[in-house]
Symmetry: C2
Subunit: 162 residues, 2 copies
């Protein structure tokens, strides 16, 4: 496989750009919400904005090891924003979630920029080498596209509060 | 540029697979909704499911010419599901939206499968050749990724009714 193929490089650039546009859109949407607005529910009885905010940080923090870039920063946040439903556990202050959003996404941006086109087609950390040999579509690219969709999915909910 | 580069081909396959997963998820979500449920709002005072359903069909129908694959099937649907807000115009029956969903997405699937990796980096129809020379990221790939995000965004709203 040719790693320096201009078409492959252009395709990866497009995928990364699209991811970053979603992240920037999220940063803007949540950034415009004061601490009080973050307490609002997206619909009656549904998650609060602050929960979705931290949920996205937790998922994107775990994307770092899933892409085999290194260890994550907030392994404890899965308990708060993933396993525990909203309002069942006490959440960190909004300022802490805001700060984590920035750090987690900047770290991801730098880490992902260092992957070659070929490396995007290598396995992600949630699939074993044996399974990957049979299912080569379970690669880093697939995970990033899936997380891009997950981000957009939740941003579609966040705007309902706006 | 090498069109047959295996890495480039693998990247395109990943993007198309991710798009199709979103379409299939939408088909399942809307498919499980009876005509009565399609009348429900995603949140008080917000769009009804039937509006989002038709909105996605209209946007994806217009994706066909935007990818320069040919003409669209329902140019009149923009008036109903895009320019007009929900409840301001009379919408087609749910059965018609369901049928259009299937036809539009199958046609897209076939059309997109015929594009080479290199062609995904060519301009889309909403940018002129002059502008594209200066902004080569405004290509077919960028449009498809944007529409994938748009689809996920609305599916995140649709699940609120479930």
């Amino acid at each position: 496989m040719a790693t320096n193929d201009a078409v492959a490089v252009g395709l990866v650039e497009g995928v990364l750009k699209s991811w970053q546009m979603g992240v920037d859109r999220g940063a803007k949407l949540f950034g415009r919400s004061g601490d009080e607005e973050l307490e609002r529910e997206i619909a009656p009885g549904k998650n609060r904005l602050i929960y979705i905010y931290g949920h996205l940080v937790a998922i994107h923090d775990s994307l770092y090891p899933t892409l085999r870039l290194g260890t994550r920063l907030h392994p404890d946040w899965d308990e708060l924003f993933l396993k525990g439903a909203d309002r069942t556990v006490s959440l960190p202050p909004a300022a802490e979630v805001r700060e984590a959003w920035n750090v987690v996404h900047e770290r991801l941006r730098v880490g992902m920029a260092g992957l070659s086109a070929e490396e995007w087609l290598e396995r992600h950390a949630l699939v074993s080498e044996e399974d990957f040999a049979k299912e080569p579509h379970r690669n880093r690219l697939a995970v990033l596209l899936s997380r891009s969709g997950h981000l957009a999915y939740h941003l579609g909910q966040v705007v309902l509060v706006k």
